[in-house]
């Protein structure tokens, strides 16, 4: 006890220095999470809150729109993350060892969509794809081609959203991969060339394994970002047609702000939190391993 008090006194200055950050962390991150978990167990009206246990969760698992949202979110995560990693690896591996100006040009070209707000991108795509007054259906009609409503067809709406999100995000991954690949020691490539390895072997046996930490980082960051996919859904499809493109985040938003079902929305938030936690676990483990 005496020893503990001594240790505390010894480290007091240190604790006080981290106190502001810790305090803000507790107020703005830990408290909302706890409050979210609490709210998920209540039915909330403007005038009162009633404890309902796990009723909100039960209601969610019986709701076909929630199930559809979960499946769509999983689909988005799998396809967008896979596309991003494969395409970014392909582009980066093809250009990283070229002329510096060329690399900068490629990097810049792919990064421009990342800088443009998702809201603007969604509006541009809406202008292009709107079946009644969009540019693509208009041109198709003028050319006497049969027009497809990409956003109104349950079979095409998901691929369109996947493509738009992928096209907007891939620049970030390309930047990270190129930076990582430039950092791979040159002598490894030279040794491989001396041994007669072709470009493909170099990519698969040297480059990809050497940039593994970047790949892990890109995968985790993209999984977390895609789990929260919202703007493109809200502005482009409104979750439609008939909830075909609704996602967990959009479902949460609708319940919280349109239907005023704060309890149900909090329950969705808790489920999303758990999914993110599980998916982030490999990264956390690799971080602890290093230490």
């Amino acid at each position: 006890m005496k020893m503990n008090r001594h240790v505390l006194k010894e480290n007091l200055t240190g604790y006080l220095f981290i106190a502001p950050q810790l305090l803000l962390f507790l107020i703005f991150l830990v408290y909302p999470i706890i409050e979210g978990i609490r709210l998920s167990l209540y039915r909330i009206n403007y005038t009162n809150q009633v404890f309902v246990g796990f009723e909100n969760y039960q209601q969610l698992f019986q709701d076909p729109v929630f199930i559809k949202s979960t499946l769509n979110t999983v689909l988005f995560v799998v396809f967008i993350v896979a596309l991003t990693v494969i395409f970014a690896l392909f582009v980066s591996a093809a250009v990283f060892d070229k002329n510096a100006k060329y690399v900068s040009f490629i990097r810049g070209s792919y990064y421009i969509p990342v800088m443009v707000s998702m809201v603007v991108m969604s509006m541009v795509w809406s202008f292009l794809l709107n079946p009644a007054n969009g540019l693509i259906p208009y041109v198709a009609k003028q050319m006497e081609l049969s027009s497809v409503n990409f956003l109104g067809n349950p079979k095409t709406v998901l691929p369109v959203i996947i493509f738009i999100t992928f096209a907007t995000n891939v620049g970030q991954a390309i930047i990270l991969y190129i930076a990582s690949m430039i950092g791979v020691p040159k002598d490894l490539f030279e040794a491989a060339e001396v041994d007669g390895a072709n470009k493909l072997t170099i990519i698969f046996k040297i480059l990809i394994p050497m940039v593994k930490p970047t790949t892990v980082y890109i995968i985790i960051m993209n999984i977390i970002a895609v789990l929260k996919i919202f703007v493109v859904i809200q502005l482009l499809t409104g979750g439609g047609p008939n909830n075909a493109s609704t996602t967990l985040m959009y479902f949460l938003y609708n319940n919280a702000f349109k239907y005023n079902q704060l309890g149900v929305a909090s329950a969705v938030g808790v489920i999303m939190f758990l999914i993110t936690l599980v998916l982030s676990f490999p990264q956390l483990r690799s971080m602890f391993k290093k230490n």
């Binding site: 709107n130 259906p137 409503n149 979750g239 702000f257 005023n260």
Partner: protein, 460 residues
């Protein structure tokens, strides 16, 4: 060493305490004094786009907030009790519920909201609005017909002060009709033309043949809940009553299914714009104004705004006229939105009192109530004053007997609106048959009503 350590501890303590500084309560002290030593009160008033200008959309710099800014200024000048400032904010209709729910859950609702009352009834059921019985006097009750008071009364209390109303109809491009040889179906400039369903189908089919290939006979939409009242009207075209006496949806009968089938058939035949499932009511309005759609939905304010835009050169000019939504029986279908102000329970007695005084002021002031002519005035006195200069008032009056109450007065109407458009999307995309879409809508809709009724603070 000790001194250095003391300094470090002191510095870190200051740092830690400074993080808490922002959490301190604002020092409210004594109330701020304004002009003439009166206490300052700042109200926030929100509205969705209604009419432009103070009295008329043709005024210079006319905008959606012009009227309320003018009314606030006039009120402030003559108000004796407090020095009042009113912050007027226009919010998009489709953002209304999101915004209000965030503000209500954060404990910062606006003081006053001016909107079509059908969209705000749920807030009364949720206990977020204060009753306005004490600002409604006998004079107002005499001047405003009972049916408008019925629309704004929930349980025993009045929650909205009726200002104007906006009957919903169709609008058509008479120039397109003439070009298609449909002259005999064109009504008078100040008439609301009534077509039979057969005539309507003839019009649509003729337009399809005669219009340029990038224009469509009729505008339909199902992207979201905006403009869904017209979709509700189309679902009554074959005589379905929609709600029973107990306030439950009864769309799932032969007539309801027939109406859904008619919508699908009309859409599939190319008599409407394509992609209804991804098209919003705003898209259809733009298409109509740009002469890409011959028949669109409208209400009295949208109609006036469209005309004003044409006059101001903001939109292509054409001969725009009104028609009723047809039905199989031959009797037209029409409805109205009563617009008015509601006051939120901010739990601040002073602000609620001043809000009530302001709402009463602009809803009764003889000069200000004239602005209701931009829609259709709810006050008989204003109708009489303007009926000679606005002959459409008489046409709307003649139409009033065909009006139906599209909300059915049921609780949970806002959420009910979120259930309809996914079913219409499923219908248009072929995911569901008309019978299934109607059946599922009734099932989901009645569940919404049942839950909302259980949670309502208003016991009817």
């Amino acid at each position: 060493m000790l001194k250095k350590r003391f300094l470090a501890t002191a510095l870190s303590s200051v740092l830690a305490l400074s993080a808490l500084a922002g959490c301190a309560n604002k020092d409210t002290g004594t109330p701020e004094k304004g002009k003439d030593g009166k206490q300052k009160v700042e109200l926030s008033l929100m509205l969705t786009p209604q009419w432009k200008g103070v009295m008329d959309p043709t005024e210079k710099g006319a905008d959606y907030d012009s009227f309320f800014k003018y009314a606030a200024d006039k009120f402030s000048k003559q108000y004796k009790d407090y020095d009042v400032k009113v912050k007027v904010e226009v919010v998009a209709s489709e953002q209304r519920d999101e915004l209000l729910n965030v503000k209500l859950n954060g404990g910062t609702p606006p003081d006053i909201f001016f909107e079509n009352t059908f969209a705000m009834g749920d807030y009364a059921h949720r206990g977020a609005l204060v009753p306005l019985n004490d600002i409604v006097d006998d004079k107002a009750k005499e001047d405003i017909a009972q049916n408008y008071w019925d629309t704004v009364t929930f349980g025993k209390d009045v929650y909205f002060y009726p200002f104007s109303h906006m009957p919903g109809t169709l609008a058509y491009n008479a120039d397109m009709f003439k070009a298609a040889g449909l002259d005999k179906y064109i009504g008078g400039e100040n008439d609301i033309k009534t077509w039979t369903l057969d005539e309507y189908e003839t019009i649509l089919n003729t337009l399809k043949k005669k219009l340029p290939k990038d224009a469509y006979p009729m505008g339909i939409f199902a992207l979201n809940n905006q403009g869904d009242t017209w979709n509700l009207a189309y679902l009554r075209m074959f005589g379905n009553k929609f709600f029973d006496e107990k306030g439950n949806i009864v769309l799932n009968d032969a007539n309801g299914v027939k109406a859904a089938e008619w919508l699908k058939k009309t859409y599939k035949a190319g008599l409407t714009n394509p992609g209804a499932e991804s098209v919003s009511s705003n898209d259809v309005l733009s298409m109509f104004q740009n002469q890409k759609v011959a028949i669109s939905f409208t209400n009295s304010v949208l109609f006036n705004n469209a005309k004003a835009d044409m006059e101001a050169g903001k939109a292509p000019k054409f001969d725009i006229r009104l028609a009723n939504i047809p039905s199989e029986s031959g009797d037209p279908l029409t409805f109205t939105y009563v617009s008015g102000a509601a006051i939120f329970n901010t739990k601040d007695e002073t602000r609620i009192k001043v809000s009530k005084d302001f709402v009463k002021f602009f809803s009764t002031d003889p000069e200000l109530v004239k602005a209701s002519k931009n829609g259709i005035p709810v006050r008989t006195s204003v109708v009489k004053e303007f009926e000679s200069t606005n002959p459409l008032f008489a046409a709307y009056d003649k139409n009033a007997k065909y009006m139906f109450n599209f909300t059915g007065g049921v609780p949970g109407y806002s959420q009910l609106r979120q259930v309809l458009y996914p079913e219409l999307q499923a219908l248009y995309t072929g995911q569901k048959s008309a019978a299934d879409a109607v059946k599922d809508y009734q099932e989901k809709g009645n569940k919404v009503i049942q839950d909302a009724r259980a949670n309502s603070v208003i016991k009817e």
